[in-house]
């Protein structure tokens, strides 16, 4: 144990360890300063933004937030919440079921489905823009419903394979013994397997919600004045007369809040999802 401890710390001197620590925190600073710039600018008046260069020290104002929330912004928040929540719920249900089929059964079509979804994980959303616009407008599916459908489709391949990894870790004996007790496949899926997948579902849910909440390209072509979602609504603050940085940054902060909360609450699951497959554990 002590020998392991010695190799772990690499016998570093106190100076080297201090150097390591400083580098690590400088790095964290580099990551976080631009975010702090956004937050602080959102509390500045137009005058504070343009006079005398950038500073973190100023008299904060809520003016920008008040202006934004008096406009149509709250409606767009509502649209984004609906799209995010519904798309995430559907993706998780359909994705888990499909992952379960791929993990537990051999059936005709399994290999093409597996390979197809694996390749579709990396499809560029820009590639979907033209055909989705063409198809969706011709059958009248634009708006929030159409947007949700695309987001579910777009997120399913990643979700299926993230959850596949989690399901593979659940021992098959669990369902086998349940089957002996007369428990059917659907009951054992919903009552035995699903509760065991909570960490995987959390990670997959966060990633799906993040895409649905943050996505711009498809949202910009499928929504109109009323059904607009947040990432596209933010551009309302870039006007022909110039950019209102205070309001723009306030809008940016509001858009960034849910993903920030998720990150602080579930960093471990997110990192597991990011490194999923490549790194074991």
């Amino acid at each position: 144990m002590s020998a392991l401890g010695a190799t772990r710390s690499n016998g570093l001197s106190a100076v080297a360890r201090f150097g390591q620590l400083s580098i690590a925190w400088l790095l964290a600073l580099a990551v976080i300063v631009p975010l702090l710039v956004m937050v602080s600018t959102s509390f500045k008046t137009q005058r504070q933004i343009f006079d005398g260069g950038f500073s973190f020290i100023f008299m904060p104002t809520l003016e920008n937030y008040r202006n934004i929330l008096e406009g149509r912004f709250l409606g767009y928040v509502g649209n984004s919440i609906v799209v995010g929540v519904v798309a995430t719920a559907l993706t998780l249900v359909l994705g888990t079921m499909c992952a379960y089929a791929l993990s537990r059964f051999t059936f005709i079509g399994r290999t093409p489905i597996a390979m197809g979804t694996l390749l579709l994980r990396t499809i560029p959303p820009a590639v979907l823009a033209v055909p989705i616009y063409f198809i969706w407008t011709s059958i009248g599916l634009a708006g929030l419903g159409g947007l949700i459908l695309v987001y579910v489709a777009l997120n399913l391949p990643f979700t299926i394979w993230l959850l596949y990894g989690f399901i593979e870790q659940v021992p098959r004996e669990l369902e086998e013994s349940a089957a002996v007790d007369g428990c059917g496949p659907f009951r054992s899926f919903f009552y035995l397997i699903l509760p065991l997948l909570k960490p995987g579902l959390a990670a997959a849910g966060i990633f799906t919600f993040r895409i649905a909440w943050n996505e711009l390209v498809l949202a910009s072509i499928l929504t109109d004045r009323n059904s607009r979602t947040l990432p596209y609504a933010v551009f309302l603050y870039i006007k022909d007369t110039g950019i209102d940085w205070g309001e723009l940054m306030a809008a940016g902060v509001l858009v960034a809040i849910p993903p920030l909360i998720f990150t602080f609450v579930a960093a471990r699951q997110i990192i597991a999802g990011l490194t999923s497959g490549a790194v074991k554990g």
Partner: protein, 295 residues
């Protein structure tokens, strides 16, 4: 008997809803892109036999100067950011390997740029690089320098690269660190006892052992660098000129700004071909199906 008859349709009951959604939302649109790429149609027009051009749109794409410039910009961008992000990310992981107090807090901070909306990232850095109000010019103006970052083509390209490096170097770092921490410590120890120097251990033992994960990381970064458009859309909208017009943004603008739908579809097919090849390469290194049966 009932059991056997029943079990044949059970996997389909589990898999079909998801497959139906993907067929409608992904597979059919991809086929439609392929079809549209044969027709010279404008946005909103239905393809007609008169508009059929065969493979001519693809030849046009390859000789179109804007498309070629956008491809060159994208290639340069992908190579520059992937090389720098891997070099910095792996270097930092080697430096910070081992137990560091507060590492879990650090990792949480490092994930933030990847979690917030790309639109936010683009707007934050548009402000950071703003000539008059931006913090970067406030900091460098002490040296009597006040560049118009996003109005100059090479500085704008540099700014877009810096933004991507800020956003995704943490990803490479997290992957490389996880790989290093998964290494068998006894191998490194054995090399040490044999008198290997620090850089020899890194070069001959650690890096070769984590190479598969580094390849996966590189491929993931490469695919993402070729896929994204939202950051540049918010930051520069491709300008000035075409200096930051990444290929997906060019696809988007061809369809919805200049409204050449067939042209845009042909561009889409080209991009899809490249990302699919890279995606297949990713499967060579990391196939969950194979992993599932072997372990």
């Amino acid at each position: 008997m009932n059991q056997a008859g029943q079990s044949r349709w059970i996997p389909y009951a589990f898999a079909l809803p998801a497959i139906a959604v993907m067929a409608i939302g992904l597979f059919y649109p991809i086929l439609e892109t392929l079809r549209l790429s044969f027709y010279e149609v404008r946005l909103g027009e239905a393809p007609s036999p008169q508009a059929f051009r065969g493979l001519r749109l693809f030849i046009e794409v390859l000789s179109d100067s804007a498309a070629r410039e956008s491809m060159a910009v994208t290639l340069k961008f992908a190579v520059v950011v992937c090389a720098l992000e891997l070099a910095i990310g792996i270097g930092l992981a080697l430096l910070l390997e081992g137990k560091i107090p507060g590492m879990s807090v650090l990792r949480t901070i490092f994930v933030l740029p990847m979690m917030i909306a790309p639109v936010c990232v683009g707007l934050i850095w548009r402000y950071m690089f703003d000539t008059n109000a931006g913090p970067i010019n406030a900091w460098v103006s002490g040296f009597g320098w006040k560049p118009a970052w996003l109005a100059d083509s090479s500085l704008a390209f540099l700014a877009v690269c810096i933004t991507d490096i800020w956003q995704f170097t943490p990803f490479v770092f997290i992957m490389a660190l996880a790989a290093l921490q998964g290494l068998d410590a006894s191998l490194v120890e054995a090399a040490r006892i044999d008198g290997a120097r620090l850089w020899q251990v890194i070069w001959h033992i650690k890096l070769p052992l984590i190479m598969p994960i580094l390849m996966i990381t590189l491929l993931m970064r490469l695919i993402d660098a070729l896929r994204g458009l939202e950051v540049v859309y918010a930051m520069t909208n491709g300008g000035p000129g075409l200096s930051t017009e990444l290929f997906p943004l060019h696809i988007y603008k061809s369809a919805f700004v200049t409204q050449r739908m067939g042209h845009s579809a042909a561009l889409s097919v080209c991009l899809l071909a490249v990302t699919t090849v890279l995606s297949a390469a990713l499967l060579v290194f990391n196939n969950p199906l194979r992993r599932g049966t072997s372990s």
